[in-house]
Symmetry: C2
Subunit: 143 residues, 2 copies
């Protein structure tokens, strides 16, 4: 069965976790996009990437672990800053190339110290900065 084949299944149909993971559409770098959303406010916090190892660690530990494309290694969210994401739910999109993580974010998700990475408004005009840091990033990363 593929993601395409599952499109017609009814709500409540149970699926095999390992099959869903095996059939994810990893890109040429072995990654899928992962959107992190605060589970209660529903604010979108950030977009990151996961390889299979990061996804399996996230499932095992209940804390979000991503793959850092810039650093080329696993990125256990909060390992430096202390601002972890406790996992509430993971959903997969219709074609199996994007994950939606519902998380409980401790403090800021963004490296700038802001709650969300999406703090710059492009539209409507005027484009502007929307939010301030919750914490000085110099404090976040000095631990």
């Amino acid at each position: 069965m593929s993601y395409k084949d599952r499109e017609t299944l009814s709500p409540g149909t149970e699926l095999d976790t390992d099959t869903l993971i095996a059939e994810l559409k990893w890109d040429n770098n072995g990654l899928v996009a992962a959107i992190a959303q605060q589970y209660d406010s529903k604010d979108v916090l950030m977009l990151a990437w996961m390889n299979e190892t990061a996804l399996r660690e996230t499932l095992q530990t209940g804390r979000a672990c991503y793959w850092s494309r810039s650093r080329g290694k696993l990125w256990r969210k909060g390992e430096e800053s202390g601002q972890v994401q406790l996992l509430k739910e993971i959903r997969i999109d219709c074609d199996g190339d994007t994950l939606l993580l519902l998380v409980d974010q401790t403090g800021p998700a963004c490296h700038t110290g802001r709650r969300s990475c999406f703090y710059t408004r492009l539209y409507p005009e005027p484009a502007q900065i929307l939010t301030a840091p919750l914490i000085d990033p110099a404090t976040l990363y000095s631990k």
Copy 2:
């Protein structure tokens, strides 16, 4: 000024739209990721991709236009299905490689006829299908 340089700006600081667009971090295919979120319910609807042409058309028309990677052409959301996304707001993430579109989605965002593409739960177990189509996709694409 770069996205990095703007990190320390205060809320309300106004920015130049064309500069923000020019400095987006387009990937090797000239694309940025675009998350579509229903503006009032805050449900995440889908993840798609935009090139500069798609972004500028979206800003000009007030309706979401993406770049279809599978079809290799502009994808005016709803042009076949009639299920358009009226643009409310666009936000850019801290490093300028992801857009968050707040939209008012007419009917289903997903090609399966479901409101959201994220209808498959991976975690917590049991993994399962969460939602049913609002509309039979055979009806959506027969117009």
